[in-house]
Every structure is written in structure tokens, then in C-alpha cells.
């Protein structure tokens, strides 16, 4: 064979092998899974890699919403980097920086005339998002402002529909300059860890998302994903328990921010609790007792056994649409809300409107239901506890998180010696303190 013939044979063989390589690559391409959500009418291929992922919620069905409507991204790209590069808020479209674009709109979660229906506005003005209380207290304490009325928030926010005495018109963004008192500057740079836009501390017990998902997407204490999306890592911390929204928010979800330690104003740093149990064989109840509240606190049995959301209402947690200087301005539920007083039953309301918020809220929770004609606890602020129902003889609470049934004892007719003007929980704790059983 001549040199040319040899070269032709070798290169020809190489070329055939290379073409075979192309066939192999084609054969290994995943079978495309296409979804055309009814709300967008635009095909998307996300499920090619994410088939099996949990539907985020029944109200956001995958058939109607698909993925791109909320997440953004390049829904036709099957290259992970390209597909994900333009997602809103990274993995979390509910991050407050992008929430209006992802979750807003008058057909969705913003733009309603009433504050109560404008969830995004309520959250953006809430103390959980503005962190206005802590900022005002610290700035006032160290001479940065004349009184403790909030002036600053994490981001600038305005409210042109003030409905409460403590409502404020606007907050400016908190960016203390070099002329601000030193401790205020230190606070600003080191202590703004606990608000809805702050990234989580990346450690067990602290893993959580931001924005809506900070509460409504549950993170386990170890931060591991337990769902069935084939491409979400199962051994890498920092993911929600599953790709699902819930209103059955367990106590430990709240605890990813709350009851995790204290700020030292002297050092201007966050001091983490050191008494949290590591991986162990504790029972759920023991874990709850150890984790629930910090040791210095005093609580009643129901505060240990129930979950935070069994008492703290939507309006308290997500805000009432006004900007406030203190979380206490919106926090109003007391023991008497469910237990009544020596002279009065708790407020009750019988549901007659099929569109009543109690029915809508119950539909979003898997553990209790409210039907027309049910009589439920009402609050002084016009909210209802659909999960605490009066059957004519007894008041029964259904745990929002676990569905457990509790009979709610009434103060009326009991031997309780409370004074009528001492209804705050601190007074109740004097007699009804529960000591934890594990040490």
C-alpha cells in the first residue's frame, strides 16, 4: 500500500469511529418530556430532567402552571446551565427581590384592593421582611435616630393604605454611612441575618429559603432533599424537604430563624445556641422539647405540644399590610383567644359564606376542613381559627401540622383566678408552666 492509501485507510477508519461516537451521543440523549402548561400555552422541556418532581401545590398544578411561569429560565434548553441561567431568584422564585414578577399580579398574589388579599404587599411591609423593629431599636439605642419609631427597613418600602394606628407611610433602605455610630455600622454589616431576604446560615438547623418559601417550603433540620426529583441532589444540604408549598408549617421550620440563639449587642454578633441536639435517636417529642424554645423561657403545655401556626395567625406572621415599628404591633393572639375568660366564651363565628377565608385556608391544609355551618374561633382582628371548632358542647382544636385532636379547656366555669385586666400570656405562665421532661 502507498503512503496515501495507508493514510486514507487509517483516517477513514478513524472517521467511521468518530461518526459512531456521534450516534452513541444521540442514543444517550434523554427522551424529551414536553409539557405545555394551559396558562402559558408555551411548551417547556424541564421535566425531561426533572420528571418525578413533586407538584408545588394543588393550587399551582403542573398542568396549569408548568415550571417557567413561576421559575423563569429557558424552558426549551436541555443544557442545565443555559436552562437555569435566567431563572428568577436562582432556585427560589419567591425571593422577595423577584417575588412580584414570579408570584404577583392581580390574578395571583398581589394587586388586590384589600390589603388582606395583597399577600406580597403584606409580606413586603411586614416586620419579618423589613426587620424594622430591630433596626429601629439598635439605631435608636446607639444614637442613630431620635426615637424608636422605625425609619429604615432592609429595603425601601412604602404603604399608601394605612389602616392601623401604628402604621407608617414609608421606610428608607438601611445603609448607614461612615458617619453613623460605629455600633450601628457593625450591626448593619454583621447582624442583618434574620429577615426574609437574608440568606440562611449554611449549617444544620438553619437551612431555609428566603421570601415566601422561607416559611411555606419546609426544610428539614439537616437541609436534605427527600423528594423524588431525579436531578436534585439528595446528599447535599441546603434544599427543601420536597418541592412543595404547605400551610402545615411545623415548629422546626419557624425555628430555622427563631429560637436559634441571641444577638450580642456588645459584640454585635449572633451567638448561636450550643444546646441543640446533634444527630441522635431522640423521639420526636424529646427532639421537640429540646429544640422548641430556648432554656430560659417559660411556656405552657399547649405551647410545647402545638405548632407555632396553631396560634400565630396569617395576619400576625405575614403582616396586616401596614408598615410597623414593632412586631408586637401586629401580634395580638393571646391565651384568651381560644380559652376565653372567667366571664366570657371565646369569640365564635359560624361560617355561612362559601368563599369565607376560613374555608379557603382549610382547603390549603391537608389536616383539617371547614364546611358551611361550622362554628369556629374568631379573633378581635377579624381572623378565624378554622382548625378550632365549637361543636355546641366542646371546643376542639385540630393540629394544623399533624392533625392531632385536642379538647380546648375553657376558663369560663373553671377555678382559674386570673384578673380581668391581666390576660397576657405571661400571667397565664405563672400557673401553667410546663417543665420539659428531657434534660
Amino acid at each position: 500500500m502507498s503512503g496515501n492509501q495507508k493514510a486514507t485507510a487509517v483516517l477513514g477508519l478513524a472517521f467511521l469511529l468518530i461518526v459512531l461516537g456521534a450516534v452513541v451521543r444521540q442514543a444517550r440523549q434523554p427522551a424529551v418530556v414536553q409539557l405545555t402548561p394551559t396558562l402559558t400555552g408555551q411548551p417547556e422541556l424541564c421535566l425531561t430532567c426533572h420528571e418525578g418532581i413533586e407538584e408545588i401545590s394543588a393550587a399551582h398544578s403542573i398542568e396549569a402552571f408548568g415550571c417557567v411561569l413561576c421559575h423563569g429560565g429557558d424552558g426549551l434548553a436541555l443544557d442545565a446551565d443555559l436552562a437555569h441561567a435566567t431563572m428568577r431568584g436562582g432556585r427560589n422564585p419567591s425571593d422577595l427581590a423577584v417575588v412580584e414578577e414570579s408570584c404577583g399580579g392581580s390574578a395571583c398574589h398581589s394587586g388586590a384592593a384589600e390589603d388582606s388579599g395583597d399577600h406580597i404587599h403584606r409580606v413586603l411591609t411586614s416586620v419579618q421582611a423589613t426587620y424594622a423593629g430591630a433596626i429601629a431599636q439598635v439605631n435608636f439605642a446607639f444614637g442613630g435616630q431620635a426615637d424608636a419609631t422605625a425609619v429604615f427597613g432592609i429595603t425601601a418600602v412604602t404603604d399608601n393604605n394605612i389602616t392601623t394606628d401604628t402604621g407608617l407611610a414609608a421606610l428608607a433602605a438601611f445603609h448607614p454611612g461612615s458617619d453613623a455610630p460605629g455600633p450601628v455600622q457593625a450591626f448593619s454589616s454583621d447582624c442583618l441575618l434574620c429577615h426574609l431576604s437574608a440568606a440562611a446560615i449554611e449549617a444544620p438547623y438553619y437551612y431555609r429559603a428566603t421570601g415566601c418559601a422561607a416559611c411555606h417550603v419546609v426544610y428539614e433540620n439537616d437541609g436534605l432533599y427527600r423528594g423524588s426529583d431525579p436531578t436534585t441532589p439528595k446528599d447535599e444540604a441546603g434544599y427543601g424537604r420536597s418541592h412543595q408549598f404547605t400551610t402545615a408549617i411545623p415548629y422546626y421550620q419557624c425555628n430555622h430563624c427563631h429560637n436559634r440563639g441571641n444577638y450580642s449587642l456588645r459584640q454585635m454578633s449572633f451567638l448561636e445556641r450550643d444546646d441543640l441536639p446533634g444527630a441522635s435517636s431522640l423521639s420526636a417529642q424529646e427532639q421537640r422539647e429540646l429544640e422548641y424554645y430556648q432554656p430560659i423561657s417559660q411556656f405552657t403545655l399547649c405551647e410545647w405540644e402545638l405548632d407555632c401556626v396553631d396560634c400565630h395567625t396569617n395576619g400576625e406572621v405575614m403582616g396586616n399590610g401596614d408598615i410597623h415599628s414593632h412586631q408586637q404591633d401586629v401580634q395580638y393572639v393571646q391565651c384568651q383567644t381560644c380559652h376565653g375568660t372567667l366571664t366570657e366564651m371565646p369569640l365564635l363565628e359560624t361560617i355561612t359564606d362559601p368563599a369565607h377565608p376560613a374555608i379557603i385556608s382549610a382547603d390549603l391544609n391537608p389536616n383539617y376542613s371547614v364546611e358551611l355551618g361550622d362554628t369556629v374561633i374568631a379573633t378581635t382582628q377579624g381572623e378565624t381559627f378554622g382548625w378550632v371548632q365549637w361543636d355546641g358542647e366542646r371546643l376542639v382544636e385540630t393540629g394544623k401540622v399533624d392533625g392531632r385532636l385536642y379538647e380546648v379547656p375553657l376558663v369560663l366555669g373553671s377555678g382559674c383566678q386570673q384578673k380581668p385586666d391581666e390576660q397576657e400570656s405571661a400571667y397565664c405562665h405563672e400557673c401553667h408552666t410546663y417543665e420539659r421532661t428531657v434534660k
Binding site: 492509501q5 486514507t8 478513524a14 468518530i18 444521540q26 424529551v32 408555551q42 436541555l78 443544557d79
Partner: protein, 346 residues
């Protein structure tokens, strides 16, 4: 004897052996031709999938790339063939300059070759624009605005390219038509003419004196065709290897599901125009985007008349008679490479 056909015209019964060595031409002209044909062979099927509208362009590319069987391969082959073509064509130009093959009587064919290279650059740019994503949209915006800088006819040129005061569907259709027809047909004709002229100018540039003496070793047509076959197989191997392992780039789409344009990545120009982008950082657009590139083109075009008019030294590497031409082209090459590297690292 029958009149020789075009293939036989390009492949005479014998050619000078020295100049037919791979080590002399590196097969760059032939490789460029093969790559250009590959671009047509892969480009036509891509036209069956590509939708040249602002709303659907990015989407149709994704269907081609991710859904159609072997669509990714077609697109990658098309992309890499274009990259390789610009490289082989540029190297072909350098070979011609440094071996003195532009000299009389080949000045006209030098112009034809240069035209093919310039049109290939425009073809590559128009193809880049068809991606219609944030990167290429940025390049399109910058590129078309540069044309506005051209004195006297700038605005007319801009409207001719863009099809109106703003970039719209019309712009995309114009670039699509230039890319698939308006530039392709002229380049094809020029390539044919360029190849035809090689023979008309006395065959591939060779040492005249030796040819006349009749002592020059010569190579048979069959051997030449075999060598061409080997080179073709080699370049096809490279082309397919690149296409299997490295995907042609895509960025976030412009339009329906686009993010804000502010997120346009920092590199807007395609790789072959990065050097102009680097110049645009240094000087005003009239100079960086118009006068300097045009000056380079003009200098290259006039090279056989202005920089080196002498006949001796054809087919001799770095012959002293072509010193000026070699230095100027060498400097331009080094300048473009350095500017490209600098801009790439930005």
C-alpha cells in the same frame, strides 16, 4: 480530445511536485473549500428547522438543538465548520503572503480570495446574529450602530441593514436572507472563480525558472487527488470530533421568555470581531469600527500593487522582495491576535 471539465481544470495531468507538497500549501485552500461545502450541507437542513422571526428564532434553535434527532450534531458541525473555515481561510491568506504567491500574474486572484474571506466574515456574523439571544443581540446592536458612523452613507447603510429605525423582525429576516442566500451565492461564485483563476494564472504559485527548465519533478493527477482525499478525511475527523465534544454556544434568548437585556454577557462581539471590540474600547467608533477595519482591508487589497510589485520570489518562503508585504501582514496578524486575546480575557 474533449474539452476538460472543471474538475480536470483544477487537477491538470501533472503539477509541480514541490508546490503540491502538504508541507507547502498545508492544503488550506482545499480545506476551506471543503468546510464551505460542509456549511452548505449542514446549513440547508438547518433551514428546515429555523424560524426567522423574533418570537420564534431562539425557540426553533432549541428545538433543533435539543429535540430533533441529530439536530445538535448538525448545528455543532455548522458552527465548527464556520470557525475552522475562518481559521483555514486566514491561514491560507498568510501562506500566500509569506510564500509570495500573490505576485504577478496572481494579483487579481489575490483580490478574489480576499473578497471571499471578507464575505465569509460577514456570513459568520450574520449566522451569529441568527441565534437571536442576548449575546448576539448585543453584537447586532453594536455592529449595526457602527455602520451609522460611516460618513455620508451611514444612516442609509444602517437602514439597509436593519430595515428601519429599530431592530425588529425585519432585521432578522434581512440577516437570515443575507446569510442563506444574499452572501452565499456570491461567495460560491467567487470560490469557483478563485479556483478557476489558479489554473488560468499558470497553476499554483511555483518557481518559474525551474518549471521552464523542465527539470521540475512533477506529480500525477491521481496522486494529487489522493492527497486531497487524505486532507479532507483529516479535516472531517477534526470537524466531527469538535462537534461531538464541544457544543456550539447559546445564550439566554431575546424576546418572549427573555430576561432583561442588561444581563447581556460582557462579551458581545463574536470571537472573530473581538479585536474590533477591543479597538472600540480605545478609540471612537468612527475610527475603531470603520476607518481602522477599512484601512486594514484596503491595505490588504492593494498589497500586490503598493507593497510589492516585483515578480521574482514567487513560491519562495519569505523572499526579500516581499519584505514589506510580509512585515505589514505579519504586524496586522499579530495585532489582531493580541487584541483578540486581550478582549477575550476582559
Amino acid at each position: 480530445m474533449a474539452r476538460p471539465n472543471f474538475f480536470e481544470h483544477l487537477h491538470p495531468p501533472t503539477i509541480p511536485a514541490r508546490e503540491a507538497r502538504f508541507g507547502y500549501t498545508f492544503g488550506l485552500g482545499g480545506m476551506s473549500l471543503l468546510l464551505f461545502l460542509s456549511l452548505i450541507v449542514t446549513g440547508v437542513p438547518l433551514m428546515f428547522g429555523y424560524v426567522p422571526t423574533a418570537v420564534s428564532a431562539a425557540e426553533s434553535i432549541r428545538v433543533i438543538t435539543y429535540v430533533a434527532p441529530f439536530g445538535w450534531l448538525l448545528r455543532n458541525l455548522h458552527y465548527w465548520a464556520a470557525v475552522l473555515l475562518l481559521l483555514t481561510a486566514s491561514l491560507h491568506l498568510l501562506r500566500v503572503v509569506f510564500s509570495g504567491s500573490y505576485k504577478k500574474p496572481r494579483q487579481f486572484n489575490w483580490l478574489l480570495g480576499l473578497s471571499i474571506l471578507l464575505l465569509s466574515l460577514l456570513l459568520s456574523f450574520s449566522g451569529y446574529v441568527l441565534r437571536w439571544d442576548v449575546d448576539t443581540y448585543g453584537a447586532l446592536t453594536v455592529g449595526t450602530h457602527i455602520t451609522q458612523q460611516v460618513p455620508l452613507i451611514g444612516n442609509w447603510l444602517y437602514r439597509l441593514l436593519v430595515g428601519g429605525p429599530n431592530i425588529t423582525d425585519t432585521t432578522l429576516v434581512r440577516f437570515y436572507t443575507w446569510h442563506t442566500l444574499g452572501l452565499v451565492v456570491p461567495v460560491l461564485l467567487l470560490i469557483g472563480w478563485h479556483a478557476f483563476r489558479v489554473r488560468r494564472d499558470g497553476g499554483i504559485g511555483h518557481r518559474e525558472a525551474e518549471a521552464v527548465s523542465g527539470k521540475t519533478p512533477r506529480l500525477a493527477r491521481r496522486e494529487l487527488v489522493q492527497r486531497e482525499g487524505v486532507a479532507a478525511l483529516a479535516i472531517l475527523c477534526v470537524l466531527f470530533l469538535l462537534s461531538i465534544f464541544w457544543d456550539a454556544p447559546l445564550a439566554a434568548p431575546v424576546g418572549r421568555f427573555a430576561g432583561p437585556l442588561a444581563e447581556t454577557s460582557h462579551i458581545a462581539a463574536p470571537w472573530f470581531f473581538l479585536w474590533i471590540q477591543a479597538l472600540l474600547r480605545l478609540w471612537p467608533p468612527l475610527w475603531a469600527g470603520v476607518f481602522i477595519p477599512l484601512g486594514v482591508v484596503l491595505l490588504l487589497a492593494l498589497l500586490p500593487w503598493v507593497l510589492d510589485r516585483r515578480e521574482e520570489g514567487t513560491a519562495v518562503w519569505f523572499h526579500p522582495s516581499g519584505r514589506w508585504a510580509q512585515v505589514v501582514v505579519g504586524a496586522i496578524t499579530v495585532g489582531i491576535i493580541l487584541l483578540t486575546i486581550v478582549e477575550w480575557r476582559q
